[in-house]
């Protein structure tokens, strides 16, 4: 059987040569390098914000009876969300005055936290007015947010005061949803004798500082706190894993690059290099010459693909390796090998998809101008429109956006979006635990087989479509 790809190698070599010499690719590669290396370095730095476990003020009111007289106090406990106290921190006690021009703070007192993280402030013997507002926060301007202290009329009837919260945390290798309580008896002493129940199962008691943490599993739960005859319940929701989440470290940077930068930049590079692969030949007349030479149409198309693909992947691989190096140096730890390999392979997959798409549209384009429009439209469809249309479709079908079937269907739809498929392919190399913050579309609902199969089908179908279309439409 005759070789259907006669001429493929020579055309590919010619394409690589001309692309690597073209200012277009050189400029794109430089911009790509700048973006990736800059992001790799920047994201490898410690990041402020909710994704990090930073200390905060747990602020409580307290009533201490001395010789029959009630003394009112504000108690500040400075600790991180895992309950690790921070001593030696100066906390300020502020009253807040609301007026027409906003809020005015008055520093009433300041105190340094003990080794156990506590600082206390006395207000006096009279119950503050119920509309009075107080807060405790570090006296430095920059720092964690304040904790409010409230003296309601019903406070005197309580046996404890409570600060509670829920956070999603991540580590370079795992993630967790947690629910925490900080409980003090009404006199400001940690309520170590309190009982904490999860779905009516006793979990334990607060620690010596009054802190108790629950790692929440996915689903609806009820947490109950019982202390000295009083109970308080809290509905707590653990979220479905949406994929592995990292807040810091080399893996986190790779995941973030996969979510934010790569689906944006790689298609741009691939489209900008290959959008006029066929249209340019047609317009400058060389396609006519090419078709009359000893090459087959399949050879021309595959040669064009290989030429553009290799020309793009060569600088992309160099930049990605350099990016991994930057991540490793800046975060002090190399990313997981499986993640790095998945990141590389998925990037090549994404480049191949967009080059094939561009070959198809370039074959259809009769002019370079039309080819440019096709390139922009393809980028917009998969970077902007697809998500919008997928959600529109699901909402219009009447599915409940909190139901599992909604996300199962969405995962199936995402198989038709190369950008999300790229992220799903990377997610295959990650642990399956997740949290509520970074959201990387995972293969969780589908499993690895459909995701890999979708990747293979994308490549095969686009290749066949490109070859058949070129054979039909290459008549100049």
């Amino acid at each position: 059987m005759a070789n259907p790809f006669v001429g493929m190698g020579r055309i590919a070599w010619m394409e690589v040569r001309s692309h690597l010499r073209s200012p277009r690719l050189i400029i794109l590669a430089a911009l790509f390098a700048l973006a990736v290396l800059g992001a790799a370095y920047g994201l490898s730095q410690p990041q402020p914000g909710v994704f990090q476990n930073r200390p905060q003020v747990f602020a409580h009111p307290a009533i201490v009876n001395v010789s029959g007289v009630s003394h009112y106090w504000a108690i500040g406990w400075f600790a991180d969300q895992y309950g690790v106290p921070v001593g030696g921190q100066e906390l300020g006690f502020y009253s807040l005055e609301y007026n027409i021009s906003g809020v005015t703070e008055h520093l009433l007192n300041s105190s340094t936290t003990s080794a156990a993280g506590f600082a206390s402030f006395e207000l006096g013997t009279g119950l503050p007015q119920s509309n009075a507002s107080f807060q405790i926060r570090p006296t430095q301007t920059a720092g964690p947010g304040p904790g409010g202290v409230y003296f309601g009329r019903d406070l005197v009837n309580q046996t404890f005061t409570l600060v509670q919260g829920q956070s999603g945390f991540s580590t370079p290798t795992s993630s967790q949803d947690l629910f925490y309580l900080h409980v003090l008896a009404l006199d400001g002493i940690p309520a170590t004798g309190a009982d904490v129940y999860l779905n009516d199962t006793l979990l334990g008691h607060p620690d010596a500082n009054g802190y108790f943490r629950i790692d929440v599993t996915p689903g609806e739960h009820t947490v109950r706190l019982a202390f000295r005859g009083q109970n308080q319940t809290f509905p707590v929701r653990g979220f479905e894993s949406s994929g592995p989440i990292f807040s810091s470290g080399a893996d986190a940077v790779l995941v973030f690059l996969s979510i934010s930068l790569m689906p944006l930049l790689l298609p741009i590079v691939a489209i900008a290099v290959s959008f006029d692969a066929i249209a340019r030949e047609r317009v400058q007349g060389s396609l006519e010459l090419l078709l009359s030479r000893r090459v087959r149409r399949e050879g021309i198309l595959v040669g064009k693909f290989l030429g553009a693909f290799l020309s793009i992947t060569l600088p992309v691989i160099v930049v990605l390796f350099a990016g991994l190096g930057v991540v490793t140096l800046a975060s002090g730890r190399a990313p997981a090998l499986s993640l790095a390999v998945a990141f590389m392979l998925a990037s090549l997959f994404l480049v191949a998809i967009y080059v094939l798409l561009m070959l198809i549209f370039s074959t259809l384009a009769k002019s370079v101008g039309t080819a440019v429009v096709f390139g922009v439209v393809v980028w917009l469809v998969f970077n902007v429109l697809f998500n919008f249309l997928a959600f529109l479709l699901l909402f219009s079908s009447g599915r409940n956006p909190t139901s599992r079937s909604f996300y199962e269907t969405l995962s199936l739809l995402y198989l038709f979006d190369p950008n999300t498929l790229f992220q799903m392919l990377i997610s295959l190399a990650l642990p399956s635990t997740g949290s509520t913050f970074f959201v990387i579309p995972s293969s969780g609902f589908l499993g690895p087989a459909p995701v890999i199969a979708a990747g293979v089908i994308w490549i095969v179908v686009l290749f066949l479509a490109a070859i058949v279309l070129f054979a039909r439409k290459s008549e100049v």
Partner: protein, 323 residues
């Protein structure tokens, strides 16, 4: 048809049809073209714009597939064995260019590699062809800096890079200055002397007349005539008006009246050099014209019967009047 004739045909086209698909109105570019061109012949392919010349030549170059009919080039069917056809032909399109960002020499080397000519053989061949087409000095320049004429020369060199037996040239001298036209004419003469078959599509009738031994005229997708150039002229001569050009002093109105009364004379026009007389096809009126002018004492400097030109033949066969 004798077996020898079959073997000697470089190009054979039978019932060739081509329909361009279109959403609303498909276009029938060829409606059944028949052609046969002998090996070593130079065939001039004439026709008005849109007649189907370029479509035919592209089908022969295996760029387009015909809708119906068959075509053989060098004995190979264009559909069944296009790779063999591509080895035999050198195709020079009308409006193509090379790769503008590559040098002329690199363009040639690329086309050589695609014809399986590599290494030092390709470089020598490219160098020699660049010299042949007069681009030796511009060989290292990027093609985007070439003039129209230089690009045409480079295209010719590209077509010749693998020393093909059959050349398909679509308007090789289109848009060129007289020097360029002459260059291509000489080049094609040289190729004929080497025994190459030349299929030349052109609008420049004088170029075809001087270069080709056989011509074919196509109109609206159908061949109107295919014959030797002389035979075409004779056919035209039998049907075209006979004309006589006379260089003389301006004749008086009465002399012109007498000329018009000569049997078979249709029209008499004044020209800057004298007069032009048109008579019925095949009529020999030169002697009678001389007699009338001499009788009226009009001084004659020269008298020339007009031979029908290829242009006359072209226009006559396409239904237009000779100029």
């Amino acid at each position: 048809m004798a077996r020898d004739d079959l073997a000697s045909a470089a190009i054979r086209v039978q019932g060739l049809k081509k329909r361009y698909a279109a959403f609303r109105k498909p276009l029938d570019a060829l409606l059944g073209v028949d052609l046969e061109i002998a090996r070593g012949d130079a065939f001039g392919f004439l026709g008005p714009n849109g007649a189907g010349k370029t479509t035919t030549i592209r089908i022969l170059a295996t760029i387009l597939s015909p809708t119906a009919g068959s075509a053989e080039v060098g004995g190979h069917d264009i559909r069944e064995d296009p790779m063999a056809v591509r080895s035999l032909i050198g195709y020079m399109p009308e409006n193509a260019g090379g790769y503008p960002l590559m040098t002329g020499q690199d363009n040639l080397l690329y086309w050589a590699r695609l014809q399986d000519i590599t290494g030092s053989g390709a470089r020598e061949r490219a160098k020699s062809l660049l010299a042949t087409v007069g681009l030796e000095e511009a060989a290292g320049q990027k093609v985007k800096t070439y003039s129209h004429g230089m690009k045409k020369r480079l295209l010719m060199a590209s077509a010749l890079i693998h020393d093909p037996d059959i050349l398909l040239l679509d308007e090789p001298a289109g848009g060129l200055d007289p020097q360029g036209i002459r260059f291509f004419r000489d080049l094609i003469h040289g190729l004929r002397q080497k025994g190459k078959t030349v299929f030349l599509s052109s609008h420049i009738l004088s170029e075809v007349e001087q270069t080709c031994s056989t011509i074919g005229i196509i109109q609206k997708g159908r061949m109107v005539a295919v014959d030797r150039v002389e035979a075409i002229r004779q056919r035209v001569g039998a049907v075209a008006p006979a004309r006589v050009e006379v260089d003389c002093d301006p004749p008086s109105a009465s002399t012109v009246q007498l000329l018009r009364q000569i049997p078979k004379v249709r029209m008499v026009w004044s020209t800057p050099a004298g007069i032009l007389v048109e008579a019925e096809p095949g009529a020999d009126v030169a002697d009678e014209i001389t007699r009338v002018l001499v009788t009226d004492h009009v001084r004659i400097r020269a008298i020339r019967p007009f031979e029908p030109t290829l242009e006359d033949a072209f226009l006559s066969l396409l239904g237009g009047a000779p100029s």
